[in-house]
């Protein structure tokens, strides 16, 4: 193994539960249902999937959801805005913890 990540892993994702087939079956059935058209369109779900993939920084998921977003007709502008939503929330999550910092600092300060 030359690298921790191998692009071929994505094609072989189904093999990951070979030693726990019932759990694998349950997961992949659930996964398939989640991305079917529902109250949210398949396209909207893929944009959410892309945003989460970027947030969890999963290269497999980024490859998969980039392709799926394009095949669902999303534009690069929309996908880029989704990336910025992730960035805003990740950045905002850090910044809002600044409130803890402030409270702590204020308690310790004169």
């Amino acid at each position: 193994m030359d690298t921790y990540y191998d692009p071929r892993d994505l094609q072989q994702f189904g093999d990951v539960c070979k030693d726990a087939p019932e759990l694998g079956k349950a997961f992949f059935e659930y996964y398939g249902k989640i991305f079917a058209e529902g109250a949210l369109s398949g396209r909207e779900k893929c944009l959410i999937g892309l945003a989460v993939a970027l947030a969890v920084q999963c290269p497999y998921c980024i490859e998969s959801f980039t392709k799926q977003c394009l095949e669902q007709g999303s534009t690069l502008e929309e996908m880029t805005e989704a990336a910025h939503v992730v960035t805003a929330i990740r950045g905002g999550a850090s910044l809002v913890h600044g409130m803890q910092m402030r409270r702590m600092a204020e308690k310790l300060s004169m």
Partner: protein, 324 residues
């Protein structure tokens, strides 16, 4: 002169030859009654789109001669097709096209004219546009994406803005407007090595976005996968996407698409009068039924049950919902 890419790329591992794939599924691709006469009037085009299977462009000189146009009209007059579909290249650039459309228009119930919009926007196309409107010829316009970066990457800088301006002008003339009798359909091809979205969902989005952002109306949107031939195939190869795209198409093979494939009911005539089962076979140089013939050699449309010439590019028409 662009050459065939067929000889320079090995079929990707895991992709069976299309003909063998049909055999494996116990399927045969044969003709049904011919309903549509598709006329490719030339490879000359004002654009050089990166997905063009025919490698049309400004440097191409192949256009239909007046004599071949006469043969097409004669054939259409003798054999009642439900539809006539005029395509290119950019048909607007072909000498004598306005008169050709004027005479073709009465010869079928539905007559279509394919446009990349930018060619129609030229001042020189004004007379043609008047003929198409007067004769109620339906326009079928290419609009790959509502994103400027994506549309322009396929068609050239500024293509989306110019296309939108032309669509507005067509709407003002009545094309695509309810009750006008002037049809305006859009065709969207993916702007890369991926399959198109579902047609209904894409049509809803295009309709809503074009109306809201630009005040543009149209009748129907059709989405088609890009066919790995010509300039598109060379781009796939150069960008390292060929094998992945072919596997994507082959994995999405849907046997249910066969009954509705357009090649079953289409007679495709090239600019030089040669006949093919479809425009893609024309690009690949695969003659109708595997036998090179001109339209003038045919006694009539090919009979139902006749063999259709196939190649690996046919995977593009059988992927997902198919190319109907």
């Amino acid at each position: 002169m662009p050459g065939s890419a067929a000889a320079c790329t090995v079929r990707p591992e895991g992709v069976a030859p299309f003909a063998r794939n049909l055999e494996t599924h116990g399927l045969a691709l044969v003709r049904d009654a011919a309903l549509t006469l598709q006329v490719n009037v030339g490879l000359l085009c004002n654009l050089a789109c990166r997905h063009c299977h025919l490698e049309a462009g400004p440097a191409r000189t192949e256009v239909m001669s007046p004599d071949t146009m006469r043969q097409v009209k004669e054939h259409a007059r003798q054999h009642a097709y439900a539809a006539i579909d005029v395509t290119g290249g950019a048909p607007e650039l072909v000498p004598g096209i306005a008169g050709f459309m004027e005479e073709l228009a009465p010869l079928a119930g539905r007559v279509m004219f394919r446009t990349n919009l930018l060619a129609m926007a030229r001042e020189e196309s004004r007379e043609l546009l008047e003929v198409l409107a007067a004769r109620k010829v339906a326009l079928v316009a290419s609009l790959p994406s509502l994103s400027a970066s994506q549309a322009d990457s396929q068609r050239g800088t500024g293509a989306l803005d110019k296309s939108l301006a032309m669509l507005l002008r067509l709407n003002r003339l009545g094309f695509g407007m309810e009750g006008s009798g002037l049809g305006l359909d859009l065709v969207s091809n993916p702007t890369g090595a991926f399959l198109p979205p579902g047609q209904e969902a894409a049509e809803r989005r295009f309709r809503a976005d074009l109306a809201r952002r630009h005040g543009i109306a149209f009748n129907r949107l059709y989405v088609f996968a890009n066919v790995p031939l010509g300039r598109y195939r060379r781009w796939l190869e150069a960008s390292g996407n060929y094998a992945g795209y072919m596997r994507r198409l082959a994995d999405a093979f849907n046997p249910c698409t066969l009954d509705g494939l357009m090649c079953r009911t289409l007679v495709s005539v090239g600019w030089d009068g040669q006949v093919y089962d479809c425009d893609f076979n024309q690009a690949e140089g695969l003659p109708m039924g595997g036998e090179a013939r001109r339209l003038s050699d045919l006694d009539g449309p090919p009979a139902a049950g006749a063999r259709i010439a196939v190649g690996d590019h046919c995977y593009a028409c059988t992927a997902g919902a198919g190319f109907t």
